[in-house]
């Protein structure tokens, strides 16, 4: 109490209130700044991304429809080409990501199940740590691994099967690398979802005579469905946006839709990184347009998947 009487005067109260106001404003401005970045990103990329189609500062503009549906990307004379197309990039990106999901979804869900329910305590800790460490490995290291280990293996497999491959840089290599990168994401969320399934469901199933394994597969996993699905959506977002590792193992193809797993391919992100050190003018700016398309694809994917998730969820509840 002696403390208060020493410090409380009209003067000091006013000073303290002024200090409060200033500090509060500083904090508020910081928050506004933080919140505004996402808006800035959208605006700037929108503006720079649309420029090649409409701005008059280029010798000739790119046709938007050709751009979106084009199946090849020709540079032409540097800075003057109008033969830019991302149509094939969009489709190739989707193919690459879908195939990578074929790898990562089963592995992740089962690993999540294993960690949540099957593993003894010690093993569980080890697996959890490994998954966390996998999540924090930078993408460039996955790229080096893909180029150094996976590409040669794929090249050998292709030769044995009688297919041509460009040194192992291919669609399947890219999907494997992306699959490896998304496993940690989906595993962690799957594990959490499975673990948080109501015990009653588990115990009830066991009480009815089902074996633990049957319970896990037929009761727990379906019950954790929405959480797992959310994890998959997150994984898809990461896979769509991955740039460095993909640019190192995809082969950077310039045209055509790629379905053959041993053919080189390219994605929106790899296209953005290709030749980045040497560009100027429209060739540099068009990358923003590709970035714009990438963001639209990611947003669209999120929306579609969330709608599917709701529908499946509703069907079940009936």
């Amino acid at each position: 109490m002696a403390m208060i009487s020493k410090y409380v005067t009209k003067e000091s109260i006013r000073r303290k209130n002024l200090q409060d106001k200033i500090v509060k404003n500083i904090f508020f401005s910081s928050t506004i700044l933080s919140a505004s970045f996402i808006i800035l990103i959208v605006i700037f990329i929108l503006v720079k991304g649309i420029a090649p189609f409409v701005s008059s500062k280029y010798i000739s503009n790119v046709n938007l429809f050709d751009f979106l549906t084009g199946i090849k990307w020709l540079d032409g004379a540097t800075g003057i080409s109008t033969d830019y197309g991302v149509g094939f990039l969009i489709i190739n990106t989707i193919i690459v990501v879908l195939i990578s999901l074929l790898i990562s979804i089963p592995v992740s869900i089962l690993t999540g199940l294993f960690i949540a329910k099957i593993a003894p305590k010690r093993v569980r800790e080890i697996f959890r740590t490994v998954v966390e460490l996998l999540a924090s490995i930078p993408s460039i290291i996955y790229g080096v691994f893909g180029l150094g280990v996976i590409a040669p293996v794929i090249m050998n497999i292709a030769e044995v099967l009688g297919f041509q491959s460009s040194g192992g840089l291919s669609l399947i290599t890219t999907s494997i690398v992306l699959g490896m990168m998304t496993i940690p994401t989906i595993t962690v969320i799957s594990e959490n979802s499975i673990r948080s399934v109501d015990k009653i469901l588990e115990e009830g199933s066991l009480a009815l005579g089902a074996s633990p394994t049957q319970t896990q597969l037929k009761v727990l996993i379906p019950a954790a469905k929405s959480g797992i699905f959310a994890g998959i959506i997150l994984g898809i977002g990461r896979a769509l946006g991955e740039a460095t590792a993909v640019s190192m193992v995809s082969g950077n193809r310039f045209s055509g839709l790629v379905f053959n797993p041993f053919d080189t391919t390219s994605t929106l992100t790899s296209r953005m990184l290709l030749g980045i050190k040497e560009t100027t003018g429209i060739d540099y700016d068009i990358r923003f347009s590709v970035g714009l398309v990438l963001m639209l694809v990611i947003i669209l994917a999120n929306i579609i998947l969330k709608v599917i998730m709701k529908k499946v969820g509703n069907l079940d509840d009936n």
Binding site: I4, I45, P184, L294, M295
Partner: protein, 408 residues
């Protein structure tokens, strides 16, 4: 319902095989992790060392003139396959490779009486003539010019041919020695600068934002929108942040500080935006744990909100903030795509904040493009990056454990 023994056994067998499948799928993650570690250690382990971290990236040439003429010598030890002895100059030249895997020729032995013990640096002219120097053992030699350009030995010919040509001449007019580069000192320093600068920008803004949201803001729509805006940053891919850096920060820094093109500063601004959600979230979590009553108690003792925040709340939140910072540092070290756009990819030895340079991760990317992907260097740098990230994660985990042990 009674189940027969046979049915039980069948079911158990099926169960076990299913369990086997689950186990094998789960070990994929473990397998991937182990393979990555084994690969980068096997490929890059030999290269990692103090001198890799300290050396320049650029080769450094010295031109020396040999002050004595050739003589006649003999060599008593045995020579390995790659070693070739010159009996006129009493030196052994060896074929070997440099840090980037290129073939080079080194001087692996200089005899006691060899003329090459008396050399001077041609590029160092002082009043009394050229400065005498010593040739370090295992110096790489690029070219040797003998007898006034009559004979020229290039390292591209290989050690054996070089020795043959050397033996044809009597005086060495100029010998170009190369201190091989390929070191990552520049990239290491750039990474450290980037971490420092980014944290200086991101931590205050992030912590202040979190404090505002948690302590000051009223629960209205504006606050909710701001929180959503900040959350949305987490879903943006790194390369988009790179585009943002190139579109916003590079021109901004060019305009205000007068740089030209990318710089470490523009990179730091970009990374700061990437780190903001991380720092804000960790700070928020740390603040939420602090019981509400502490604030009331402090205010009732006469402190204003500022004093409460800085002297009571913030200190308790520091472990949580530190966790966010550590995760952020890990993110900076590993980031590649965003920095390729926001800074550029030009490997430098002299690191200047206002100019481009590469971080360790971008150095890997540069080393892997080009005519000969340098797996050894890439793996060596990967070992360093992975080591740093793992250590940071461990420290962060310890911090989290300590924080959760504290009870109010």
């Amino acid at each position: 319902m009674i189940i027969s023994d046979r049915k039980l056994k069948a079911r158990r067998r099926k169960d076990n095989s299913v369990k086997g499948i689950i186990l094998s799928f789960s070990s994929v993650g473990l397998l991937v992790f182990a393979s990555i570690l084994i690969y980068i250690f096997k490929t890059g382990g030999g290269l990692v060392g103090y001198d890799l971290l300290i050396s320049d990236y650029q080769d450094f040439n010295t031109d020396v003139i040999v002050n004595e003429v050739s003589g006649d010598f003999t060599y008593s030890s045995t020579l390995d396959d790659d070693e070739y002895y010159s009996n006129k100059w009493d030196v052994v030249l060896t074929d070997t490779k440099d840090r980037e895997g290129k073939d080079i020729v080194v001087i692996s032995y200089i005899g006691e009486n060899s003329p090459l013990r008396d050399v001077s640096d041609l590029n160092s002219i002082v009043d009394s003539g050229f400065v005498r120097v010593n040739i370090p053992i295992n110096s790489s030699v690029d070219s040797i010019i003998l007898d006034d350009y009559d004979f020229i030995a290039f390292s591209k010919f290989g050690a054996e041919t070089m020795v043959d040509i050397m033996n044809m001449g009597t005086s060495i007019d100029s010998m170009t020695l190369v201190k091989e580069g390929g070191g990552i000192r520049g990239s290491l320093i750039t990474t450290l600068y980037l971490i420092g600068l980014t944290l200086v920008i991101a931590v205050p803004i992030g912590v202040f934002s979190a404090i505002y949201i948690n302590e000051y803001a009223r629960k209205n729509k504006l606050t909710k929108y701001m929180k959503t805006m900040i959350d949305m940053l987490t879903g943006v891919p790194s390369i988009i942040f790179g585009l943002m850096g190139a579109a916003i920060f590079i021109p901004f820094v060019n305009g205000t500080i007068g740089t030209s093109g990318g710089s470490i500063i523009s990179g730091a601004l970009t990374m700061a935006v990437i780190l903001l959600p991380v720092i804000i979230k960790s700070t928020e979590e740390a603040l939420k744990v602090i019981p509400f009553d502490i604030r009331t108690a402090s205010l009732s003792l006469g402190a204003n909100q500022t004093q409460t925040t800085f002297k009571v709340i913030l200190p308790s939140a520091i472990p949580g903030i530190m966790t966010g910072i550590l995760l952020g540092i890990g993110r900076i070290i590993g980031e590649s795509a965003a920095l390729i756009y926001a800074i550029g990819a030009s490997i430098k030895d002299k690191v200047i904040l206002k100019e481009r340079s590469t971080t360790l991760a971008v150095h890997i990317w540069t080393a892997m493009s080009g005519d000969r992907p340098n797996f050894e260097l890439a793996s060596a740098i990967s070992i360093i990056i992975l080591g740093a990230v793992i250590i940071l994660n461990i420290i962060a985990k310890i911090l989290v454990k300590r924080v959760s042990k504290v009870s109010y």
